[in-house]
Amino acid sequence: MLKTYNKIEKIKGSIAQVKAENVTLGELAHVRLKDGRSTLAEVISFNEDDVNLQIYQGTKGVSTGDQIKFLGRPMQVAMGDSLLGRVFNGSGDPIDNGPEIMENKIDIGGPSFNPSKRIIAKRMVKTNIPMIDMFNTLVISQKIPIFSVAGEPYNDLLARIASQTDADVIVLGGMGLKYDDYEFFRKYFSESGALEKTTMFIHTASDPVVECILVPDMTLAVAEQFAIQNKNVLVLLTDMTAFADAQKEISISMEMVPSNRGYPGSLYSDLASRYEKAVDIDGSGSITIIAVTTMPGNDVTHPVPDNTGYITEGQFYLNGGVINPFGSLSRLKQNVMGKATREDHGDLANAMIRLYADAKKARDRESMGFRLSEWDKKLIKYEELFEERIMSLEVNLDIIEQLDLGWEILAGCFDKNETGLKNEWINKFGKWDK
């Protein structure tokens, strides 16, 4: 029996208060506005029969006489293969002119995975991007942010990863996106053929702020269902800073005491409960999460990137249009390097990064007007090749091809004994003339 009420007592921020009976925490309500619009709302607290509802579309234009119907269930999302190729907003309504999907509804924000059922991550995610596969290998069930700033091509990078990886399903959660960004993803995926295996939940900057908060939960609930059904799911979230800012906005409007630069004290838990959905299920599928986190003022100690760094398993720094080889780190890479790839992987990657660091120093010497040694010249040649053939995000190569390309570049710049690599690898994989 659904209960309907016609009297809103209070409206403030995104919250409306009604007097209602038998309403449960987290229950969903449907609000029909006099102006013809309608929105979902969620019970966030009650005091006796005073019930506080968070209105998903915001309270703008809500009237005290609008109709509120309690639905007797929490927020849910549809589930199944019919979601693939589809685009929804934060409330789960289709925004691609397709039909609404009603079947197989599941609650969002479900229980957390039992740690004792987890397994050690050891399967590689191939992205075919050398700056990831070769130097900071991504592992199935990893959660990793792309730390970047506005204006950098982080969405291009996400789209590229999504299109080049062999994931079974991709779920994209867009938060605070520009409409252009959304169009970009849609076009990119349909051109690359990834659209058929993709579901998108999109909140654009002009959409209500509450819907922004729902996007990760919707995205991850869908991902979890696919993962249980033996699918390897790649979740892409962009931009988690918009999510955190939405949390901030709402908590301030609810007069909660902020802890750090206006963000609520629960920011860490709010982020962690989402990121921790990443999992490799023993004998079944998996969830891997790559999440853009733009850093206000390019400051990594800002609360959003800072809390994120404590939660995720490493980070990629994207600046100047490339993944920076120095600050970036995949904390799980040692689980797969040389094991799921090829035996020379770890040593080759270390040597190449070391030489690249040396090359940067040679560049500094050059720019300071010092005379360059023969060695410096070799390093500078190496730097050019490295940036052009390895660092460019345009490169699309299998990991073995990447490793061979690495050896080829080394052979093109240095003598055999100058790389510091083990003879064993040089003899087996080196590209020098015998």
């Binding site: 449960t24 987290g26 229950e27 229980p111 039992n114 059922k117 991550a121 860490y268």
Partner: protein, 584 residues
């Protein structure tokens, strides 16, 4: 207990995990309650009482709770079940056995499922220590059972009133934890039936006996700790550091190698994946001290970041209580908590909901006293049976922005005996463990100067000399980066290079090298002896390049030696080569 058993309550308000409950009858502060909703019972704790209403924090997701839901009062405080079988167990923050939950419920953690922490069917081999007629009191030994790697003492329950007399005690044999093993008569003539298990409220310390001064080192096999910043058995230490600096790797290292008999690991609000590494590896890794598996001496309390925030606080107390229980048997125990900041954040969230006046960074005003109380539970205790046990506590701290000037780090520094500060600059430079030797300190170092053992004092003097060199070298290094090498005297360059050498070969240690990862005490001394020779030696070099080259070469050889197992032939050869370089 004066609390009325018939207390009844119902939910009148709810927000997040905070419930307001109207009740009739008596309610105990911090009493456990169960909220009945949607056919399940959710555990919670009374945190505030006002007239006929109480504030209750529920430990689990509260979705579905409604006005009028029934609340049952338990009368007990949040308690830990103690007895044989704690070792090798993996519990959540409320002492639910996670593996049993998985057997019942599969992949996910269901709400409202509470299983027995100890296996009630397994039989333990009991040998009595006490005999009928013996006079006993709480914590007196009654008998013992072999558990994994230790002799688990069965003790008179800690809430036993006053003195008692043993009426009956079971003969040696196999019993479950629920079987009666003794009857004890108290001073009023009441006879108590005693089993091998008992409950104890998590927030009250178990400490029966005399507190002793912690003056023995807890050896960790980590050189930078055992050397300049040692930890005492029964002492406290903290490891604050920014993300990625190596707090968790360091804690795992310590949990594997520390010379404790029992280790309790509390994974508090951090990644589940990291606990999984412990869960999957420890049952396979050998414990060098006992020859058994590492898991045999370990209990894991796991409330990782996506598990209920409200149970984070209790996870720390549950872990501490278990560790104290073993200490009471005269055992050296170690409690490691990663990270105490997440516990502090849980306090902050609840304090915010209670609308308490916020302190710095919105943490509650009682933050420092809570932190102090927690570390105060460490210590050495000589029990009445004549055995001394210790509890050492190490907590990692995750300061916002990596800045140590924040309330959790500062409150912790005010109470611990040893500060191992991890720095971003050291982890970026891959100088692991990234404990910064210029900011860290240990109040224990001088305590270990044993007047009866001459070498103990000499070792401390050597370490202090090395640290002094390090500080001077660092000053010179800073100067060098401003004025360039030309402006620095040869003597200073050598001091600088000596400091770098000591840092590279002694303070740094590769956790991922199977030999270097743990260095036993003898080997540490062997290394330190050579380091001392180098640091004390008066060097004459032709020029700066020659000095640099010499130290580079020496450092390289030394590190290779660090990576060589003592059993292999090269070990001696490499040492000879190093000594030749130093003496030659």
């Amino acid at each position: 207990m004066s609390v009325d058993n018939n207390t009844k309550g119902k939910i009148i308000a709810a927000q997040g995990n905070l419930m307001t409950v109207r009740f009739n009858g008596d309610v105990r502060q911090n009493e456990l309650v169960y909220v009945k909703t949607e056919g399940i019972s959710l555990k919670g704790e009374v945190i505030e009482i006002n007239g006929d209403t109480a504030k209750v924090q529920v430990f689990e997701p509260t979705r579905g709770i409604k006005y009028g839901d029934e609340v049952v009062f338990d009368r007990e405080l949040l308690s830990v079940e103690l007895g044989p079988g704690l070792l090798k167990s993996v519990y959540d923050g409320l002492q639910n056995p996670l593996e049993d939950i998985a057997k019942e419920a599969g992949y996910f953690l269901p709400r409202g499922m509470y299983l027995s922490p100890l296996d009630k069917e397994v039989k333990w081999k009991f040998t009595p220590i006490a005999k009928p007629g013996d006079s006993v009191e709480r914590a007196s030994y009654l008998g013992s059972v072999p558990e994994a790697v230790i002799e688990h003492k069965i003790m008179v329950p800690f809430n036993f009133p006053g003195k008692g007399t043993i009426k009956e005690i079971k003969p040696a044999g196999e019993y479950t934890v629920l079987d009666e093993i003794a009857k004890i008569e108290d001073e009023t003539g009441k006879v108590h039936s005693v089993t091998m298990t008992q409950k104890w409220p998590a927030k009250f310390p178990i400490r029966f006996g005399e507190r002793l001064f912690p003056d023995k080192p807890l050896y960790t096999a980590c050189r930078i700790i055992d050397g300049p910043f040692p930890v005492a058995k029964g002492g406290t230490f903290c490891t604050p550091g920014p993300f990625g600096a190596g707090k968790t790797v360091l804690q795992h290292q310590i949990s594997k190698n520390a010379h404790a008999q029992v280790v309790v690991i509390v994974a508090c609000g951090e990644r589940a994946g990291e606990v999984v590494e412990v869960l999957r590896e420890f049952p396979k890794l050998d414990d060098p001290q006992t020859g058994k598996k590492l898991m045999d001496r370990t209990t894991i309390i796991c409330n990782t970041s996506s598990m209920p925030v409200a149970a984070r606080e209790s996870s720390i107390y549950v872990g501490t209580t278990i560790a104290e229980y073993y200490r009471q048997m005269g055992i050296d125990t170690l409690l490691l908590a990663d990270s105490t900041s997440r516990w502090a954040q849980a306090l902050r969230e609840m304090s915010g909901r209670l609308e308490e006046i916020p302190g710095e960074e919105a943490f509650p005003a009682y933050l420092s006293s809570r932190i102090a109380e927690f570390y105060e539970r460490a210590g050495v205790v000589l029990n009445k049976n004549g055995d001394a046990g210790s509890l050492t506590i190490g907590g990692s701290v995750s300061p916002a922005g990596g800045n140590f000037e924040e309330p959790v780090t500062q409150s912790t520094l005010a109470v611990v005996g040893c500060f191992l500060g991890l720095s971003r600059s050291r982890s970026d430079a891959r100088r692991f463990p990234a404990i910064d030797p210029l900011i860290s300190w240990s109040k224990y170092l001088d305590r270990f100067r044993d007047p009866k053992v001459e070498s103990s004092g000499k070792r401390i003097d050597t370490i202090k000399m090395a640290q002094k060199n390090l500080v001077e070298g660092d000053e010179i290094g800073k100067k060098m980066s401003v004025v360039g090498e030309e402006g620095i005297s040869m003597e200073d360059i050598i001091t600088y290079l000596k400091g770098e050498f000591y840092d590279a070969v002694y303070l740094q240690q590769n956790a991922f090298d199977k030999v270097d990862t743990a260095t036993d005490a003898n080997r540490q001394q062997e290394q330190l002896d050579i380091v001392e020779m180098v640091l004390r030696k008066k060097y004459n070099f032709e020029n700066r390049d020659a000095a640099r080259k010499y130290f580079l070469n020496l450092t390289d050889k030394f590190i290779q030696w660090n990576y060589t197992a003592r059993e292999v032939a090269e070990y001696k050869e490499q040492k000879v080569q190093i000594l030749e370089m130093v003496k030659g």
